[in-house]
């Protein structure tokens, strides 16, 4: 089997969807969303699009390996890698794991950035938050997160009925607690630490769309530190309530045995 030995020049090159990160975010948005502009809008932004196209081709020529698809698709792939998939851990449970709604949200945000001048990341996060706050999607996500393993751990001596009551209580807590969806979302982000590491590289550090806690805070009407502390408190409260619940179960069992 023949093995390609990359030359020094080739090893410096990266995949085209990573190389386009060197473009301005507005140019990437133009490349990705130009197709979904109306004809009138396309006429308005044609000059900008051609300029972005030329810049993109130059970047790909200089820094990327041989591209196997046109530049607009490469730009959309960039958004998929740095905006859609990093948020799948967060918003995936809200869409039953489907990335389609997220991809739509990215393209719409890119479109609004071109047409209205709203920062694409802000628009994307607002759309994400809107989805997350949707009651049906939230119910879907809560159903997923109530199966979170540490929440469904229990003492070895627990009886079956007690376990069922306990699980039901957790379900109710998770679905009705005021911390949903911020708590769920933060959990999801923390459970995907690799995503954060991938996105901290120089080229995409300021261009990724991961909906971090500090981005969530304004939508919750809080300062980021306050949100962090509140989430910490809420988790502790969850834990305390669970412990209290077990104490009550144990006390009930003990009282029942005493009465018998």
């Amino acid at each position: 089997m023949a093995v390609d030995t990359p030359t020094r020049r080739q090893t410096e090159r990266v995949a085209p969807e990573l190389a386009v990160a060197k473009l301005e975010l507005r140019d990437i948005a133009l490349l990705a969303a130009y197709e979904i502009l109306t004809e009138a809008e396309q006429r308005t932004y044609r000059v900008h699009y051609r300029r972005a196209l030329a810049a993109g081709e130059r970047i790909v020529d200089e820094h990327a390996t041989t591209p196997d698809r046109p530049l607009p698709e490469i730009a959309r792939l960039f958004f998929s890698f740095t905006w859609v998939f990093p948020n799948l851990g967060l918003a995936g449970p809200f869409f039953a794991g489907e990335s389609g709604p997220l991809k739509d949200a990215v393209l719409l945000a890119a479109r609004e950035a071109i047409v209205l001048g709203v920062p694409a990341r802000l628009d994307f996060h607002a759309r994400l938050w809107d989805h997350i706050c949707d009651p049906d999607r939230r119910a879907e996500a809560a159903r997923f997160y109530v199966r979170h393993k540490p929440l469904h751990a229990f003492p070895p001596s627990a009886e079956r009925e007690a376990v069922e009551r306990y699980c039901g209580r957790i379900d109710a807590l998770m679905a009705t607690a005021e911390c949903v969806p911020a708590l769920l979302a933060t959990w999801a982000i923390e459970r995907n630490p690799d995503r954060l590491r991938d996105l901290s590289r120089n080229d995409v550090k300021h261009k990724h769309g991961l909906f971090e806690q500090r981005h969530m805070a304004p939508f919750l009407g809080m300062a980021p530190n306050t949100l962090a502390q509140s989430l910490k408190r809420l988790r502790v409260r969850f834990g305390e309530e669970m412990r209290l619940l077990w104490q009550i179960e144990r006390t009930d069992d003990y009282d029942g045995k005493q009465e018998r």
Binding site: G97, S99, D104, A126, Y145, T176
Partner: protein, 419 residues
């Protein structure tokens, strides 16, 4: 969140990765799904759908961005005046029941003989405050080690007093004795003052000792705020405080009069000054309640005053017999203790007032930057100092308010999907 000695939810080990909600770091399930999800091509249907979508979602997203303060608010999307809805002062005034429950919780937390009930009351109180104050200020630095140590000592003294009392329940006898006791104790203090002024030191010592003992042994449980008491604005706690502290001041005044009659004008002046200063300091602490500082009487202070007054009068009786002219300087311990307690009262009031001012100024400076100011600040549930803030402007809700239908309703669901 993990429970100690935890085991899996399914002891037979039948749970799958999906069933326990564990996600791998890489969320790509298989190559086929990955290829399908990562495909960046757009067909005609996608383009048509995405061209139509902005018209439907633009207003919604603009409202979200404006509510988050990330872009200037559009003209149409004016946020409701949330602070008009969340006027905590008005809400609390209207909800007298809530206030009474909180006071009752405070009373149970402070006075209950059962440690379990005290602990439970503290938990419930914290929860109640958390629910009342929508913007719970967290991250407030805890009190210093000295303050915590003093609180511990005070709690131990309180328990010692609680062990002395014979009334631990609301019985008819207690209900009769509770309003009578404060006047009886005040009358005993007045008698002791008259006796001290007249030079009958031994009799006065007996009366002072009887007053202190009676106050400790027959201390009734916290008086309830009955309907007619609320109607006429009569606060039994306030009446008890006035009678108790006035009684102490009367004893010192009697001592002062006795010293003056015995030819000790300087000692008399010092004692009288201490009595007036102690009374003034106590009244300032009680009056601070009107400013929102809930500062109950310290049990250390009560114990110190009881011991100092009784000890000083007893020492005078032993040394002087009849008349206070030949009393020893040890007698001046009583006014010294009362003056020291007065200084402590003033320092304590000033400490909490300063702490509250610090929080208010911090909130005010936060309001100048982004308007992210909580509706209220709980300085500490231990001290129960609640500061209400009213902001002129509007701000985004911290969590969706279901009552006003400003946010989506949450639904109760189960893990099996049934609602």
């Amino acid at each position: 969140m993990d429970l100690t000695h935890a085991t899996p939810a399914h002891p037979d080990g039948t749970e799958t990765v999906e069933s326990i909600g564990a996600q791998p770091d890489d969320p790509l399930p298989d190559a086929h799904a990955w290829r399908r999800q990562a495909d960046p091509r757009l067909d005609a249907g996608d383009v048509a759908r995405l061209r139509a979508a902005p018209r439907q979602s633009r207003d919604h997203v603009a409202h979200r961005l404006a509510a988050a303060g990330l872009v200037p608010e559009p003209e149409a999307a004016s946020a409701p005046d949330l602070d008009a809805r969340r006027d905590l002062d008005a809400a609390l005034e209207a909800d007298v029941d809530t206030l009474q429950r909180i006071d009752e919780l405070h009373a149970r937390r402070m006075r209950s003989a059962s440690p379990r009930e005290r602990q439970h009351a503290t938990t419930v109180l914290a929860e109640a405050l958390h629910r009342i104050v929508d913007g719970y200020q967290v991250g407030d630095p805890p009190p210093s080690r000295l303050v915590r140590w003093l609180r511990g000592v005070d709690d131990r003294v309180r328990r010692a007093y609680a062990r002395l009392t014979v009334f631990d329940d609301h019985t008819p006898v207690v209900a009769w004795w509770e309003p009578v006791s404060r006047w009886v104790l005040l009358a005993l203090a007045a008698c002791a003052a008259v006796m001290l002024a007249g030079g009958h030191v031994v009799e006065a010592t007996v009366v002072v000792a009887a007053r202190v003992t009676l106050a400790a042994v027959t201390a009734p449980p916290a008086p309830s705020a009955t309907t007619w008491r609320r109607l006429i604005g009569y606060n039994p706690d306030w009446a008890s405080s006035v009678c108790s502290h006035s009684g102490d001041a009367l004893v010192l005044a009697g001592l002062s009069a006795g010293l003056h009659a015995g030819g000790r004008p300087l000692w008399a002046a010092l004692t009288m000054g201490a009595a007036l200063f102690g009374l003034l300091a106590t009244v300032s602490r009680i009056a601070a309640r009107e400013q929102g500082l809930r500062l109950p009487r310290l049990w250390i202070e009560r114990a110190a005053k009881d011991l100092a007054l009784t000890g000083a009068v007893a020492a005078a009786a032993v040394a002087a017999g009849h008349g206070l002219g030949s009393a020893s300087p040890f007698m001046l311990v009583a006014p010294a203790v009362v003056a020291a307690v007065g200084v402590a009262e003033l320092v304590r009031t000033a400490y909490y007032a300063r702490r509250r001012r610090h929080l208010l100024s911090r909130a005010a400076s936060a309001g100048g930057t982004g308007g992210l100011v909580p509706n209220a600040i709980v300085v500490s549930t231990g001290d129960a100092i609640v500061v209400n803030l009213r902001r002129p402007g509007s701000r985004a809700p911290i969590f969706p308010d279901h009552r006003e239908a400003a946010g989506p309703q949450l639904r109760l669901i189960r893990s099996d999907g049934s609602r």
